[in-house]
C-alpha cells in the first residue's frame, strides 16, 4: 500500500514534447512508472521515445486507460490543463508548473470541485512511492521503500530529509510535495488523512514553512484524528516578516504565519517537533524506535 500512486498507476504527461516534460517523463519511466501517454495539442500521432502522443487527454484515456496526469505546461495554460484532466475523468493531476496566478488556482479548484479529481500542486516536486512509481521531478535514487510518509511544502528540502532518512536506513511509504503556493489542490490535512488510513505508513514526517495556516490546521487534525506519530520541521524560524522567501506562499504577514506559532500549535497537538534541520531524519528514526 501507499497513497495516491503505486506501480499500477497509469500516468500521462501533459507537455511531454517540451524540454522539461520529455526529460522528466524519461526519468519517471526509468524509475519504473507506467507512463502510458503524452498529450500535446497538435502533436497527436507522434511518439516521445516509445510513448504515444495524443492531441487531447480524452483520446489518450480512451487509447491507454490513463488515470493520472503529470503536468508540465506554462503557467497561463495550467488552469486549462487541470480542467481537461477533470473533464476526461482522471483521478489525479500533479502540477509541477511554478508561477500560476493565485486567482487562477482559486477559480479552477472551484470549477473542478464536482469532479473526483485530486490536484497536487502547483509549484511542487510531485509524488513518489519508492520502488513503485515516481510521478514528479524528484531524484528517485535517494528514496527507499519503507514505512514513513513524507509531506512537504518544499522541493529540495524534501530531498534533503528523504536523504537523511534513507542514510539512516529508514524507508518511506510515499513522499509528496504539496507545493509552495498560497493556494494548492491538496493540503497537509488531505495527506495526513490518507497516511492515517494507509497500513504501510507507520509514521508521518511533515515539513512546513512560514506563511498561511496550513500547519495550524494540520495540528488540529493530528490532535483530533491521528493515531500514528507525526514529526514536524518548520522552515523559516530566521525569516524576517513581510518578505516573500522564494515560494509565493512563504511570507509572514500581519504577524501571522510565523514558524514559532506553527511549532507551538504542532507541539500542543502532540507532534514531535524538530528545530535543527540536520536532525530531522534522526528524530524520525528515534520516534519509530520508541513505538
Amino acid at each position: 500500500m501507499s497513497i495516491f500512486v503505486n506501480k499500477d498507476t497509469k500516468v500521462l504527461v501533459q507537455g511531454i514534447t517540451g524540454k522539461e516534460g520529455s526529460f522528466h517523463a524519461r526519468n519517471c519511466i526509468e524509475y519504473g512508472t507506467k507512463i502510458v501517454a503524452g498529450v500535446t495539442p497538435g502533436k497527436g500521432g507522434q511518439k516521445m521515445d516509445e510513448v504515444p502522443v495524443f492531441n487531447t487527454i480524452e483520446q489518450a484515456v480512451r487509447a491507454t486507460g490513463a488515470e493520472a496526469a503529470l503536468i508540465f505546461v506554462p503557467p497561463p495554460s495550467a488552469p486549462d490543463a487541470i480542467l481537461e484532466a477533470a473533464d476526461a475523468g482522471l483521478r489525479l493531476a500533479v502540477i509541477i508548473t511554478d508561477g500560476v496566478p493565485t486567482i487562477d488556482m482559486l477559480k479552477v479548484l472551484q470549477q473542478i470541485s464536482c469532479y473526483d479529481l485530486r490536484v497536487i500542486g502547483p509549484n511542487c516536486p510531485g509524488v513518489i512511492t519508492p520502488g513503485e512509481a515516481k510521478v514528479g521531478i524528484m531524484p528517485g535514487y535517494i528514496h527507499r521503500p519503507g514505512h514513513v510518509g513524507v509531506i512537504s511544502r518544499s522541493g529540495t528540502l524534501t530531498y534533503e530529509v528523504v536523504a537523511q532518512l534513507t542514510a539512516l536506513g529508514v524507508g518511506q511509504s510515499t513522499c509528496l510535495g504539496i507545493g509552495g503556493d498560497p493556494v494548492v489542490g491538496t493540503d497537509f490535512v488531505d495527506c495526513l488523512a490518507a497516511f492515517e488510513a494507509d497500513p504501510q505508513t507507520h509514521a508521518v514526517l511533515m515539513i512546513g514553512e512560514i506563511g498561511g495556516e496550513a500547519e495550524e490546521k494540520a495540528a488540529a487534525f493530528v490532535k483530533a484524528k491521528m493515531s500514528k506519530p507525526v514529526v514536524s520541521f518548520i522552515a523559516g524560524l530566521s525569516a524576517p516578516p513581510g518578505k516573500r522567501m522564494g515560494h509565493a506562499g512563504a511570507i509572514i504577514s500581519g504577524g501571522k504565519g510565523t514558524a514559532r506559532a506553527k511549532l507551538d500549535a504542532l507541539a500542543a497537538a502532540g507532534v514531535h517537533i524538530v528545530e535543527d534541520p540536520a536532525r530531522i531524519g534522526a528524530t524520525v528514526r528515534d520516534v519509530l524506535k520508541a513505538q
Binding site: G99, I103, I210
Partner: protein, 390 residues
C-alpha cells in the same frame, strides 16, 4: 508587488471608490503649492513607504493650514522611518501624499484577501477600524465579519449588503458601503491583487464614506498579464541587490548577518538560514538559485551573493536533483574568474553528480572548505567567520 498608498488610491479612484482629495509630492518645496491647490484648512501629511505602522513612527501628521503642512512635509522628507514592518534599518521617505483632512464620525476596517485554507476569496470587515486588525482579531474576534466571495469579479449584491448592514450602517451609507465593497472586489479580481485593504474606511460627519487609507498588493505570478501595473514598481523601496536578483531570475532577500548563503530551493534555503542561526551565526541573505537553474544563473547568483559588502563567509548548500552539482561547481569557478573573493567558502553538495562537483572544487585554485553534511557545513561556516561568531 507592493504599491504605495497613493498608487492604491489611484486604482481605487479608477474603480469608483471614493477617496479624500490629495496630491503626491516628491520634493519638499512642492508641499506648499500642493496644499494651496487642495484648499481647505486642515491637511494630512503622509509618508509613502512600503510598510504599515507609519502613524506611530511619525509618518502621518495632521497639519493646520498651508504653512504648517509645508513645514511638516519638509521635516518628513528624507527621514528614515522605523516601524514594526520595516525592520531595524527603517525606510527612507522619498514621496509624500498630502490629502485633505476629513471630519471623522466613525472608522471601519475593510479588506479583500485570499482565505488560503478555504481556498476562496474573502471579505473581512470590522466596525473597529483605525487600529491594527491583528489586535482586534486577538482581543475581540467576534467583532470581525468574514464573508467568502464569488469566483468572478462580480460579488453578489447580497454579500456586500450583509457586510454593510453587519457593520451597522443604515440608510444612504449602507448603500454606499455595499457599492464600495463590490467595486473593491472587482479591483481585487481584475488586477490580480493579493490584498486590498482599507483602514480606516471613514464615515464622515457629513455622511460620506471615504477610503482614507489604501493598501494594495499585486500577485507577482500575475504581473505578466498586467503590463499596465508594471510602471508602479518603486525601485527606491527595494534593496538594490534584490532588484538585480530579479533581473538574474533568482530569489534573493537581503538580511542583516555576515554569512552569505547560496542554496537551491526555497525551503532548503530557509532551513539553511535557520541552521546558520542555530549554530551561532547570522545569515546575510536568503538566496534560492531555483529549480531550473543553469550555469549562468549560478554565476549570477554567486556574484550577487558576494556583492554584499557585509558577507564575511559563504555557505553553498546544494542538493542536486534536476540541478547537477558539477554544473553548480563549474558555475562557481566561472564566477570566481571574474570577481575576487576573499571570504572563506564552505561547500556542501549532495545529490546528482555530487562527487564530480566536489572534485571540481577541490582541484580548483581556491581553498574551498568541503563539508559532508548539513550540520558539518553550518559548524564550519560559523567557525570560518573572521573573529568567529559575535
Amino acid at each position: 508587488m507592493k504599491l504605495h498608498e497613493y498608487q492604491a488610491k489611484e486604482l481605487f479612484a479608477a474603480y469608483g471608490v471614493p477617496i479624500p482629495r490629495g496630491k503626491v509630492i516628491t520634493n519638499p518645496w512642492q508641499a506648499y503649492e500642493a496644499a494651496q491647490e487642495l484648499g481647505g484648512e486642515r491637511f494630512i501629511v503622509k509618508a509613502q513607504i512600503h510598510a504599515g505602522g507609519r502613524g506611530k513612527a511619525g509618518g502621518v501628521k495632521l497639519a493646520q493650514g498651508v504653512a504648517e503642512t509645508a513645514r511638516l512635509a519638509e521635516e518628513m522628507f528624507g527621514r528614515v522611518l522605523v516601524t514594526p514592518q520595516t525592520g531595524p534599518a527603517g525606510k527612507k521617505v522619498n514621496k509624500i501624499l498630502i490629502t485633505e483632512a476629513v471630519d471623522i464620525e466613525r472608522e471601519y476596517y475593510l479588506a479583500i484577501l485570499v482565505d488560503r485554507n478555504a481556498k476562496k476569496p474573502a471579505i473581512m470587515a470590522s466596525a473597529e477600524g483605525g487600529v491594527e486588525i491583528e489586535q482586534v482579531a486577538a482581543q475581540s474576534p467576534e467583532k470581525i465579519i468574514i464573508e467568502h466571495g464569488s469566483f468572478t469579479s462580480d460579488l453578489p449584491s447580497f454579500v456586500a449588503r450583509k457586510i454593510a448592514y453587519g457593520l451597522g450602517f443604515t440608510g444612504k451609507p449602507a448603500g454606499a458601503c455595499a457599492k464600495m465593497i463590490q467595486n473593491l472586489y472587482r479591483l481585487f479580481f481584475e488586477k490580480d491583487c493579493s490584498l486590498v485593504e482599507v483602514n480606516p474606511l471613514v464615515l464622515t460627519k457629513q455622511g460620506d464614506l471615504l477610503a482614507v487609507d489604501a493598501k494594495v498588493g499585486i500577485d507577482d505570478n500575475a504581473l505578466a498579464r498586467h503590463p499596465e501595473l508594471r510602471g508602479l514598481r518603486d525601485y527606491d523601496e527595494e534593496e538594490p541587490l534584490e532588484i538585480l536578483a530579479r533581473r538574474y531570475d533568482v530569489d534573493y532577500v537581503k538580511l542583516d548577518g555576515r554569512i552569505g548563503c547560496m542554496v537551491n530551493g526555497a525551503g532548503l534555503a530557509m532551513a539553511t538560514m535557520d541552521l546558520i542561526k542555530l549554530n551561532g551565526g547570522e545569515p546575510a541573505n536568503f538566496l534560492d538559485i531555483k529549480g531550473g537553474a543553469n550555469k549562468q544563473n549560478v554565476v549570477n547568483a554567486f556574484k550577487l551573493l558576494t556583492a554584499d559588502q557585509r558577507v564575511e563567509a559563504v555557505l553553498i548548500n546544494i542538493f542536486g536533483g534536476i540541478v547537477r552539482c558539477d554544473m553548480v561547481a563549474a558555475g562557481i569557478l566561472e564566477a570566481m574568474k571574474e570577481i575576487e573573493v576573499k571570504a572563506p567558502i564552505v561547500v556542501r553538495i549532495e545529490g546528482t553528480n555530487a562527487q564530480e562537483g566536489r572534485r571540481i572544487l577541490q582541484e580548483a585554485d581556491f581553498p574551498f572548505v568541503v563539508a559532508d553534511s548539513l550540520a558539518d557545513a553550518a559548524r564550519k561556516v560559523v567557525a570560518a567567520l573572521p573573529g568567529g561568531a559575535r
